[in-house]
Amino acid sequence: MSTGLGSKIKELRKQKKYTLDKLAELTGSSKSYIWELENKSPPRPSADKISKIADQLGVTIEYLLGNKEHITVEDAVDARFYRKYQNMNAKTKEKIRDMVNIWDDD
């Protein structure tokens, strides 16, 4: 499961039309490291490398790391069980809350 960080890097990389090789070359990382960031959520990504990646992608480190990287406790109690909840936008979340409140069963 990719993290918020991984999705962001991938999206920005595609926008810039960079291949994995290209972004690796520009940031002094290996191709497999960039792929891991995008797809495998390594627990402690190197700050130095994230900083270089942010530079090349034209965003800040704060944007890449953001606070939506993990499911918060608040999110976790909101839905007892969920799939892909951590990437959900505010609109979707609100819509689901409404659906739960109305509970339009037949």
Partner: protein, 279 residues
Amino acid sequence: MMTKKMTPHTWAFNITGILNTICLNSDIDRFPVDVAAIAKEYSKQIDPDDPITLVKGEVLDNFDGGLYKAPPHKKGWGIIYNNTIESQGRINFTLAHEFGHYLLHRKNIPEKIECGSNKLIRWDSTYGQIEHQANVFASNLLMPLDDYRQQIDPARKVNFDIIGFCTERYEVSLIAATLRWIEFTECRAAIVVSRDGFILWGRASDSAYKSGIFFKTVSQTIPLPDGSLASHIDLNGMVNQRQTMELTEKVWFKEPCEETVIFSENYDFVISLLQFESF
């Protein structure tokens, strides 16, 4: 209420037995499984005070589905899902997955989800476990092995057309149907899912696994082998198309195999089906 310890398999097995009986004595189609109707009816039977009372789809971006406790003025639980996902198979699997959470986890997991974000790792592993259990339930409910074995002889080599037929029968995704086939086939086969030239994960059949065919994708990042079909196909030209190639012994696991590849644009990954010679 059932008192013995129920596993994902036993829950699915029980429901499968009931569905077999009902469909034998009526003109209701046995497959695909109507998860929404069954979830409501079955939950009412086993726990009338706490059943599934709502199964509802909506336009919900970046979301597959979830199981929710009813608000105070209503009773039971509800499955809410994204009905705009293009693959009906994936929707069906999501519904079965959430139904699995209801059966397996509704009574004990909420109390367990109480650690703070600083204990995320432990929480994550519980999360991984319950997700796996819900998937096992869904797979067993939607694709009972006794029926699947009648569709595909376990000793038979397959292709994506044959598995594709089963995806329609069970209304599941190609990956779900292939993984289920991998569980019972007697052939030496494996499925490899890759993205951008690296392996996301792979799963081998029993007989393949015993002969040393497996992938350590958790601890390692493994590139697709040079010469593999998945590593050099032109993805732009083959969305949802399939290609097959006989490969020599130097590509996958140092032995010859047949690799069939399909590219799923929606999910941005390449599925390789590897079939090795029998011993």
